[in-house]
Symmetry: C2
Subunit: 226 residues, 2 copies
DNA sequence: TTAATAGTGTCTATCAGACAGTATTTC
DNA sequence: GAAATACTGTCTGATAGACACTATTAA
C-alpha cells in the first residue's frame, strides 16, 4: 500500500509507586541488545495483528499488567518521542504514559530479578538505555505539576485513608512540606472526599476520620483517558 | 528483525489562525480513499528513510510548511491517538500537534481549492474523515485552557501590537469578554511585554502604545518543544 | 469642545499560607 | 492529667473582577 520505511512503535509507561516514604519508578534490566545490561523503562510493542490490541490504551493496559501483575488504577498519556537515533535499530516512536499503582496492591514475589523499583532520588546513579533518563524527567515534571490541581495522589492510597495520609502522599510527591490547614481547605474545595463515618483506631491518640474518594470524582477523573 | 504488523504513523497538526474576528482551522478536502470527498486535518507521514526527517519535530515542521507555505512560529504536541479502526486501512497511530500561525503571514493565493480555513463555530457543519472531529475538540480544549496561563495568543499577532489588540485575541480564543483592567494587571504580572516606545497613530483618538514580546519570553516559551 | 478609546485607581470578595487555638482519644 | 495528633478559627497578604475615574488624541 504505502511502500516506505515505517518507524518502530513502542508504548513505554513510567510506573510510579510510593514505598518506604519514597516515590519510586519501575525499571527493567535489559537482557538483549540494544542497551543490554542497562536499565530501561518497562515497554512493549503495539500488537497490531488481527485480534490483538484494539486501541493504544489496550496496549498500555496489557504492558502494565505484564510488568506489574495488576490492573493499574490510573494511567494517562504523557508525550510521544520519535527520532532516527533514539533507538540504534533505526527510526522509532515511543508513546509514553505515566501510571500510578499503590504499593500495597503489588505482589513483591512476582517481580523477577530483572525488575527494580528505584526511588527518584537515586535515579541519577543509573545511566538508562535509550532516552529514558530524559523521559523520566519529563514524567516527574508532569506528576508534580498535576498534583497541584488534581486528585492524582489518591491512586497511591488504599480505599480508605485519613486526611493526614493524603497530605503525606502529596508531600512525598512534591518533595515539600504543606500547611495542614491550607491543605484541608484546598481539599475541601476540590470536593472529592466522602466521609466514611469510620475512624482509624490503630493509634494512641485521637482517632482520625477515614475518608474515601467519591465515586463521581473517580469516574470523572478516569474519563480523561477513556 | 521484528516480524509483525506495524501500525501506520502519521503526524496531523491542528493549525489555528485568527481571521475576520474568528478562530479558524485549516482543513483539506481528500482526493483519495479513505474518506474521499470529506474534509480532514492536514497530515503527513513520517519520512523515516535515510536522510529525511531526523525527529518527529522535523516531520511536523515539514508538514506545516507544505500545507501553509510558511514556517509556523509555534507548535506543540497535543496527544497521540491509535487504534485498529480509526483508519479503515488498519492499525494507525496519529501524533497530533497544535500550531498557531498569524493570518497576515499567510499568502492566500498559495492555497489551492482543496484547502479551507473553517471557523470553529461552523465546524459542526462538517463531518470530517477519520476521528478528526474529536481530535479538534481536544485541540480546542487545550488552546482555551492554555490561554489562561500562557502567552500563546501572541503567536496570532504581528511583531508590534497594542494591549487592546492582545486582549481582543484572548477574547476571540476564549469566546468571552474580559475586563480591561484585570487583563492588563495579569499581563503585567506575566512580565513578557516590552514597550517599544512607539504608538499606533492610525486612529482618531488617543494613540495606543505599541508593545512587543520580550526576546527572553519567546525563547523560554519556545524551548518547551525544542 | 466633543467623541472615542487609552490607561489607571479603588473597592470588594476570595483564597492560600502562617500560626495559634480547641477537641478528642489512649495510656 | 499528660501526650499526641485531629481538627478548626483567625489574621494577613495577594489577586481577580467590577467599575469608575483621569488622560490624550483627532476632528
Amino acid at each position: 500500500m504505502n511502500d516506505f520505511v515505517k518507524p518502530i512503535n513502542t508504548v513505554d509507561p513510567v510506573i510510579f509507586t510510593l514505598h518506604d516514604n519514597k516515590l519510586k519508578i519501575l525499571l527493567i534490566l535489559r537482557d538483549k541488545e540494544p542497551f543490554i545490561g542497562k536499565y530501561t523503562l518497562p515497554g512493549g510493542w503495539v500488537h497490531a495483528n488481527e485480534g490483538q490490541d484494539l486501541t493504544i490504551e489496550d496496549t498500555v493496559k496489557r504492558v502494565l499488567k505484564e510488568k506489574t501483575g495488576v490492573d493499574a488504577p490510573y494511567f494517562e498519556q504523557l508525550n510521544t518521542f520519535g527520532s532516527h537515533n533514539r533507538d540504534p535499530r533505526g527510526w522509532s516512536i515511543s508513546i509514553v504514559y505515566i501510571s500510578l499503582i499503590p504499593w500495597h496492591s503489588l505482589d513483591e514475589n512476582l517481580f523477577k530479578d530483572n525488575a527494580k523499583w528505584v526511588d527518584i532520588e537515586s535515579l541519577n546513579q543509573y545511566e538508562l538505555g535509550f532516552d529514558h533518563n530524559s523521559i523520566i524527567d519529563f514524567a516527574l515534571q508532569r506528576i508534580r505539576n498535576k498534583v497541584n490541581y488534581s486528585i492524582l495522589p489518591v491512586y497511591f492510597l488504599p480505599e480508605k485513608f485519613t486526611q493526614t495520609d493524603l497530605q503525606k502522599v502529596y508531600e512525598l510527591v512534591l518533595g515539600t512540606k504543606l500547611d495542614k490547614s491550607a491543605f484541608r481547605k484546598k481539599i475541601a474545595t476540590l470536593n472529592f472526599l466522602e466521609d466514611t463515618g469510620e475512624r482509624d483506631f490503630n493509634v494512641s491518640f485521637r482517632p482520625p476520620l477515614l475518608f474515601k474518594v467519591k465515586e463521581t470524582a473517580l469516574q470523572c477523573f478516569r474519563s480523561n483517558f477513556i
